[in-house]
């Protein structure tokens, strides 16, 4: 069977894409877990959170019955706290540093508790924040992703009128368009964006793309400051023969389609190869399997020790029945009539550590071939270098350069998130948005 959609029944698809980390079903469960937290001082979990959520505080607020206060504690530090509770790789952040790990005990289910409070806040539309009266200042934010929304929310609270320009039809950025559906649903993402903007003072204009519908120069004229939260977007090419063939897709587009269409409409092959071992690669591999692909093979040029995804993510792929070829790099896509048939790979070995500190893969020259009918490229994303350069923004390979204040080389233009760091977690982008907002407030002489 070639690449095709509608491989599974509706029921199977619903099952396969249901919530992978189910919430607490009952208040009692949350309270039992909240009481298990020992309430550390200068807590390692808080220090391991890029947005510095006061984790012991919000957990003890759940325990005391002050769930509203708990939600405010979370959202004051991280306005996307609800989404982050579903997508954060907590095993390497808050939960990974929980002191219970040092007792060889299960860490506190911080994400699940965070979800408990924040989902209640969204479901009940709790008004936790009050916006200061408008001070007449106007700021444009480009991109309604985590960085942009976080920046917009922080600014709006201080009385600034914010206009957000978003190139897609919906807000949320990669949360909406780039995360596995079994972690967050598009419906949830919309609710979260609506909740964030419900504070007022934030106007999102959709289908407005920088460089196409709007220009930085125009925005600079119309607004007192600009924040660029444009993210990264372009999938890194493999730069191997046959890459243009039918059946070679990039993971970003593959996942984007999954987020914007009915699952039954998404086509996958019988035998899918996924190149890469990051979070996006895992999301592409597991979801291929969940759409009905018979075999999914993940191919990575280093070993399991150097993989960028977490053990928890890898386990999801393992449990979904994906297989793995470590120390292999794609060399050529072979096909018939323009359609993928085989993937030729080089066997690699580990050499000296590279700039990332991990041992670099070295080609042994030995080749092997696997039969595939679909190749998903998830070898990383590259920034919008053209766009950034054309806007005269100082950058490094497309990654916008900023000062500690978040300001770019252009006065009054700030940036943060994936557009600056090249692609990190949602929670990092939220913090970058806060930092940018702080820089903008200082720049505008507010507070």
């Amino acid at each position: 069977m070639p690449i095709q959609n509608n491989r599974l029944s509706h029921e199977e698809l619903v099952h396969n894409f249901s919530d992978i980390h189910p919430p607490f079903e009952h208040e009692e469960g949350a309270i039992i877990e909240a009481n298990r937290c020992i309430n550390c001082y200068d807590a390692p979990c808080t220090k391991s959170c890029p947005t510095s959520i006061d984790v012991p505080m919000f957990i003890k607020q759940i325990a005391s019955g002050n769930v509203k206060g708990s939600a405010k504690t979370i959202l004051s530090s991280n306005i996307m706290g609800a989404g982050c509770s579903k997508v954060c790789p907590v095993e390497k952040l808050c939960e990974g540093s929980c002191v219970y790990n040092l007792l060889e005990e299960e860490p506190i289910s911080i994400a699940k508790l965070q979800r408990y409070s924040t989902e209640k806040a969204i479901a009940n539309n709790w008004k936790l924040f009050e916006r200061k009266a408008s001070n007449g200042k106007k700021v444009a934010v480009i991109g309604a992703g985590p960085a942009g929304l976080s920046c917009a929310h922080t600014l709006s609270l201080q009385g600034i009128d914010v206009t957000v320009y978003e190139k897609e039809e919906k807000g949320g950025g990669l949360m909406t368009y780039g995360v596995a559906a079994y972690k967050v649903t598009p419906t949830f993402c919309k609710e979260e964006v609506d909740y964030i903007t419900s504070v007022g003072g934030i106007d999102i204009k959709y289908k407005q793309e920088l460089g196409k519908d709007i220009t930085l120069a125009d925005l600079q004229k119309q607004y007192d400051a600009v924040f660029l939260g444009i993210g990264v977007g372009i999938a890194r090419e493999l730069e191997i023969p046959g890459e243009e063939m039918d059946g070679v897709v990039d993971a970003i587009s593959f996942i984007y389609n999954l987020r914007t269409n009915d699952y039954s409409k998404i086509a996958v092959g019988d035998k899918v190869a996924v190149i890469g071992m990051g979070m996006t690669a895992i999301d592409a591999a597991t979801q291929s399997k969940r759409l009905g692909a018979k075999e999914v093979t993940m191919i990575y040029r280093r070993t399991e020790n150097e993989k960028p995804c977490t053990d928890v993510e890898l386990d999801i792929a393992k449990l979904d029945g994906c297989s793995f070829i470590w120390l292999a790099a794609p060399k050529e896509v072979k096909g018939e009539n323009g359609k993928v048939k085989q993937l030729v790979c080089s066997k690699m070995k580990l050499g000296e550590p590279d700039a990332s500190g991990r041992r670099a893969p070295v080609d042994t020259g030995e080749l092997f071939t696997i039969d595939v009918d679909m190749v998903i490229k998830a070898a990383g994303q590259i920034p919008f270098e053209d766009l950034v350069s054309k806007s005269s923004l100082q950058n490094k390979g497309g990654k916008i350069a900023i000062a500690a204040s978040g300001e770019t080389n252009i006065k009054g233009v700030f940036a943060g998130g994936d557009a600056v760091n090249g692609g990190k977690e949602v929670v990092d982008a939220v913090q970058a948005g806060k930092n940018g907002a702080k820089g903008i407030l200082t720049y505008l002489g507010i507070k």
Binding site: N39, Y41, D42, K47, L102, L103
Partner: protein
């Protein structure tokens, strides 16, 4: 295997665990179930003049997810007809002749009423009587219960009435709603009581429903003070018990210990402070009668480990270790030590010491884990850090005497030694 058999005022039971006079001992069906589960004896719920109960009746103190840390009731003495209670008592004694059957009594305040109750109780074949001088609610307003126990003269008089006719051992149950239980205990001993038991419940308000603003338990929008018991009252009970075990008059009669006993450890503690046996209620009301199995098993294992063959081998052993403050050795000094390998870097020791004690813990901030060490010269040896540390034996208290000599406060003053360390 140690021998758990207990003899209290000549009343034998296969183990020292009795159920206290309370709802669990109000009916034959309950008491039969208790004996089937293995309880050594019961004190049948207080018999007296006919009363009427209300609902609701109970409320609790819960803490950090732990339910029933403390328990409060506004139930009165048995509200069942006296003749049914007496008949059932007789029946249970026949079914379980090896168990102790004590009957709690609270008659109206006159000699005849007490004589009548005592005689009727003896007719059942019960092994002993416990006088309820402690109930703090409902009966007090009628001049009974704690209002008797709070007045040594009245208590003595009632005991005298009882002893005029009693031919089985009499235990007097004392109220803790007093400054000291010793005067009442001395008085009832003078009146002739054979033994003592304590504590009865403590007057309390457990909490308020923050929606209705009615304190618990809510009886149609109102509440009253109740009688507090359960794990939270154990330390108070142990203190009262110790005062009896140390008094030259009261220590001469056997004491049945009551107050928040939930495990074999609690029981051992009561017995080490002078109780010859113990009575349990709240723990059974929380989990059912099955809890007695581990109480017996745990006590047995501990006795084996310590080499105690019988209960009497350890009753009262801790009493001499409780002294007066002015007799404590001022030169005894301990300081905390943190085992860095065991430390999980939670910082609870640090923040407790820094905010509320003597700033004796050093912090070196790390990411994400801080390192904590004791400033030995600042440490006063208060135990707080060890208490809050979640890891067993991570913080230990090490002895660093201030001097070789044992000097107490009296001697310290006599020698005019310096007072202010700071």
């Amino acid at each position: 295997m140690a021998n758990l058999e207990s003899t209290f005022l000549g009343i034998k039971s296969p183990n020292p665990f009795w159920l206290a006079s309370a709802p669990p001992t109000d009916k034959k069906i309950n008491v039969m179930r208790a004996f089937e589960a293995g309880w050594g004896g019961v004190v049948w719920k207080t018999l007296g003049s006919q009363v009427k109960n209300v609902s609701s009746r109970y409320s609790t103190l819960d803490y950090n997810g732990q339910k029933v840390v403390g328990f409060n009731n506004i139930e009165l003495i048995s509200d069942r007809p006296l003749d049914i209670n007496l008949r059932e008592i007789k029946e249970v004694i026949r079914e379980f002749p090896d168990r102790a059957m004590i009957v709690s009594l609270m008659a109206d305040n006159n000699r005849e009423a007490w004589h009548d109750m005592v005689k009727k109780t003896m007719d059942t074949g019960a092994h002993g009587i416990e006088l309820n001088f402690g109930c703090p609610h409902g009966m007090v307003e009628r001049g009974m219960g704690a209002s008797v126990g709070q007045d040594p003269e009245i208590a003595k008089m009632v005991v005298e009435w009882v002893m005029e006719v009693a031919k089985i051992p009499v235990i007097t149950k004392l109220t803790p709603n007093v400054h000291s239980v010793v005067p009442a205990a001395q008085a009832v001993i003078a009146g002739g009581t054979n033994g003592l038991s304590l504590i009865n419940t403590i007057q309390s308000v457990t909490g308020i429903d923050l929606d209705t603003l009615v304190p618990n338990p809510n009886v149609g929008g109102q509440s009253v003070f109740g009688g507090y018991c359960g794990p939270a009252v154990k330390p108070i009970a142990l203190k009262f018990l110790t005062t009896l075990a140390q008094d030259s008059i009261t220590k001469k009669v056997p004491i049945s210990g009551i107050g928040g006993i939930s495990t074999w450890k609690d029981a051992a503690e009561f017995m080490l402070l002078g109780a010859s046996n113990v009575q349990v209620c709240t723990a059974a009301m929380h989990y059912g009668f099955r809890i007695v199995r581990d109480m017996c098993d745990g006590l047995n294992n501990w006795m084996d480990e310590k080499g105690y063959k019988t209960i009497d081998d350890f009753v009262g052993l801790s009493v001499p270790k409780v002294t007066r403050w002015e007799e404590l050795d001022i030169n005894y000094h301990i300081t905390a030590k943190i085992d860095q390998d065991a430390c999980i870097h939670c910082g609870l020791c640090y923040i407790a010491c820094e905010d509320t004690s003597h700033q004796s813990i050093d912090i070196v901030r790390g990411n994400p884990y801080n390192t904590y060490t004791i400033k030995e010269e600042e440490c006063v040896g208060c135990n707080l850090c060890k208490i809050v540390c979640p890891v067993k034996d991570c913080i230990t208290m090490e002895e660093h005497r201030k001097g070789p000599e044992n000097i107490n406060w009296i001697e310290w003053q006599k020698r005019g030694l310096p007072l202010n360390d700071h």
